[in-house]
Amino acid sequence: MYQGKTLINFKKDLLETYHLVVKHVRPFVESLEKTVFKRWVWTTNHKRIGILYLLFGVFAGVLSLMMSVLIRLELMFPGDQLLFGNYQFYNVLVTMHGILMLFVVIFPISFGGFGNYFVPILIGAPDMAFPRLNNLSFWLLFPAAFSLLLSAFIDGGAGTGWTLYPPLSSLVSHSGASVDFVILSMHLAGASSIAAAINFICTIFYFKMDSMYMKDLPLFVWAVLITSFLLLFAIPVLAAAITLLLFDRNFNTSFFDPIGGGDLVLYQHLFWFFGHPEVYILILPSFGIISHVVSTFSNKPIFGYISMIGAMVVIGIVGFVVWAHHMYTSGIDTNTRAYFTSATMVIAIPTGIKVFNWVATVWGGSVWLHTPMSFALGFIVLFTMGGLTGVVLSNAGIDVSLHDTYFVVAHFHYVLSMGAVFAIFAGFYYWFGKITGYQYSEYLGQIHFWVTFIGANMTFFPMHLLGLAGMPRRIPDYPDMYSFWNIICSLGSIVSLCGVALWFYIMYDALTSTSKVVCPRNPWIFLSLHSFLGLVYLKTRVFVYQYIFVRNVSFVIRSKNSTATTLEWTINSPAPLHTFISPIRVITPSISYLQYRNNSLCVNIVEEAALLCFMYKDVSSLYSYSSII
């Protein structure tokens, strides 16, 4: 097109365009760099990274939820529904749903998000031990999710199931690059997890405030610590397994190829040695969140604190020696099955201790059924149910008939979708005000709980019955006799989808509504009307009729006066960017100081807030200290 003289014109045009770009776009990019990029992309602040983790997890969660809804719509009636007989795509959906939910949704939200945001606050640390590593571990998650999603678009996608069992994931059955991308994605997610785990371990051991002994660490911190150790020991085994698989696929080795002398069951052993601790990695932070919520909303310290910690440690340790219960049908002999049955059942003991302790915490307390507590109580019941069906499945005798049926699907959705996700919702509502500075609508929150509760149970309870009737997992079409419960399941998944849509509306409402409620320092101060009036009478010697009070008085309580059990309620909402820069001072009489269980932590609230306002011009910390009840 451009020839001879016109070529010079072209160069001129190009140059002019370049100058235009330099003139107009570069300042914009630079300003972007100074603002968004500097604040959010190369941030080293644990709170911002935590928020990024949460947002990214929620984004991937919605993606993964959509996949599950597609799966359920395909299974709504017998016959091909909406995938037009593209069964490979169905398998890809199942695989993506599993891997996304495990590596990019639940783990980043409960461990990465809440962990990053609240662990340094809960232990009184200024930030994580390695802030730049923290940033790296978040941004490694992006390429992980990206290559995972990319794999679905290349060469028909990876329809292998999240376990990537070899002959199906080898070159024989998936000759394209899709499985390579899944392996790359798992490597990246694993590297990210290990970085985060090392960071948490160092933070908790070295950055916790001096006045805290290990046994005084909040249970969420303990949960994150144990999870970190599990990650540290489990992820390298996964890395080994999938690297060998990668070698098989690309470098002509035959670790998992029986023709070359390899063994397929070896892969299953390696994978499940990682895979079983992985499920505890997913659920342990949830245990921590639930302990906080149950304790707060029962107005009681957690029952059996030490046994709670011990139970988590035991779960972590025993979780490493039970992996072959995923392989009861893979041809392991009778003695091995007997061992793994016994070892798996042993895990029910510490888990049972935790559940009983939560119940004992609620018992005798003063229970306030706010949304987080609703979710926490829902968690206790439904997680118990998932755990008990886990006892059924741990049983090698029964598992032979239930292995790889919908009973298994029901079981792990009860412990993950209703365990981990309910705990995430509980933690979300519990800490929403602390993170954003605005309180959600309690009314809508309750509706959200009930919609989620009904939807999730409607989706997953009938799966027990399908599994007992023998319906296998991961089939895109099923015999007609299973149709009734499948219709119920699919309707339930739509109800759950409505619940999630409502959840987004609740966030939207809380952040943008004209009557939005500013979250006080500690929103969880519970006072019944009756005792409140008594308080008023004691203070002012004025007797107020309930009627008058309800109509006319809105009362202000100084939240400074209230006691907080954990440190996040002693700082402003939203939490200022930098907290606990000056070390926390514990002001107690010496006897109380030794009696650790009974002490209350008094933080230098006023000085710190003033300091922060002064140093950082942080508008958010200028909110009033008082709360309106």
């Binding site: 390899g262 397929l264 049908t329 003063s366 059924l369 005798g397 007992l468 991961r474």
Partner: protein, 273 residues
């Protein structure tokens, strides 16, 4: 009565002692876990009602001694519950080990993407007078595809069934050629992964004749849901007839050793419809 119980549990109807044993074990575990679940749910419900924050202002924490006692109880109670389940379980696991039992006939079950192949050995011990001769030659090879035209048992009907004699132990040697499959028959309590490079053994016993259906139970590719297993148990004399007809010989020929074994393995293969 049994039907009602089973429909309450939601399980399949057991076809043999193996599955019946599993269901008894399941019922035992089910009773315990439903008791625990209802207990916990009810305690929490009672807590919500009687300890509601609007009603009860003052909390009553457990005294330290009670807390320690309860902690011990919380340790012992799940341990006892687990033992209650574990003892019969271990008994069942060790009793259901049929590794050393004498089987009447052995069948090679080979999984492919996406159909099953059943290879019958010429296991001459099934014939009188030849009990000590055991020649492992696959005489009869049957490919069992899903019958796509079936309307009655959609997705559960095959072109050729796996036919075994009722009332006798049948050994199944299960493997696969391409990817991992799983040979599952829910009513018989059989589920064995077919792993390339390994041969897994399962022993099936059916007291009465009947048709039993299952599906592949390990993700094996796009058509994983479309490789059903149909096992038909028939009386022994009928089974002899079926076997010989499909082999293209008469029972007398088999008895008189009049079959040219060297020609058999590849020659006799039932074609798919």
């Amino acid at each position: 009565m049994e039907n009602l119980l089973l429909s309450l549990l939601g399980t399949v109807y057991p076809a043999n002692d193996m599955m019946a044993g599993m269901l008894v074990l399941y019922a035992e575990v089910f009773g315990l876990i439903s008791f625990i679940l209802f207990a916990i749910a009810n305690i929490l419900y009672v807590c919500i009602v009687i300890y509601s924050g609007g009603v009860k202002k003052r909390i009553t924490a457990f005294p330290r001694e009670q807390e320690m006692l309860l902690d011990v109880f919380f340790l012992i109670f799940p341990t006892l519950a687990i033992l209650y389940i574990l003892v019969p379980t271990l008994g069942f696991i060790f009793n259901s080990d049929f590794a050393n039992i004498d089987t009447f006939v052995n069948v090679n079950v080979v999984g492919h993407q996406w159909y099953w192949t059943y290879e019958y050995y010429n296991n001459l011990s099934i014939l009188p007078g030849f009990s000590n001769i055991y020649m492992e030659i696959s005489l009869l090879q049957i490919d069992s595809f899903m019958d796509t035209d079936a309307t009655i048992n959609r997705l559960l009907e095959v072109t050729n069934r796996l036919v075994i004699p009722a009332g006798h132990f049948v050994g199944l040697h299960i493997t696969a050629t391409d990817v991992i499959h799983s040979f599952a028959l829910p009513q018989l309590g059989v589920k064995v992964d077919a792993i390339p490079g390994r041969i897994a053994q399962a022993t099936v016993f059916l007291p009465t004749s009947g048709v039993y259906r299952g599906q592949c139970s390990e993700l094996c590719g796009a058509y994983h849901g479309f490789m059903p297993i149909v096992l038909e148990a028939i009386k022994l004399e009928y089974w002899y007839d079926w076997y010989c007809v499909n082999l293209g010989v008469t029972p007398a020929m088999l008895l008189l050793h009049d079959v040219n074994f060297s020609l058999c393995p590849a020659s006799v293969t039932l074609e798919a419809k």
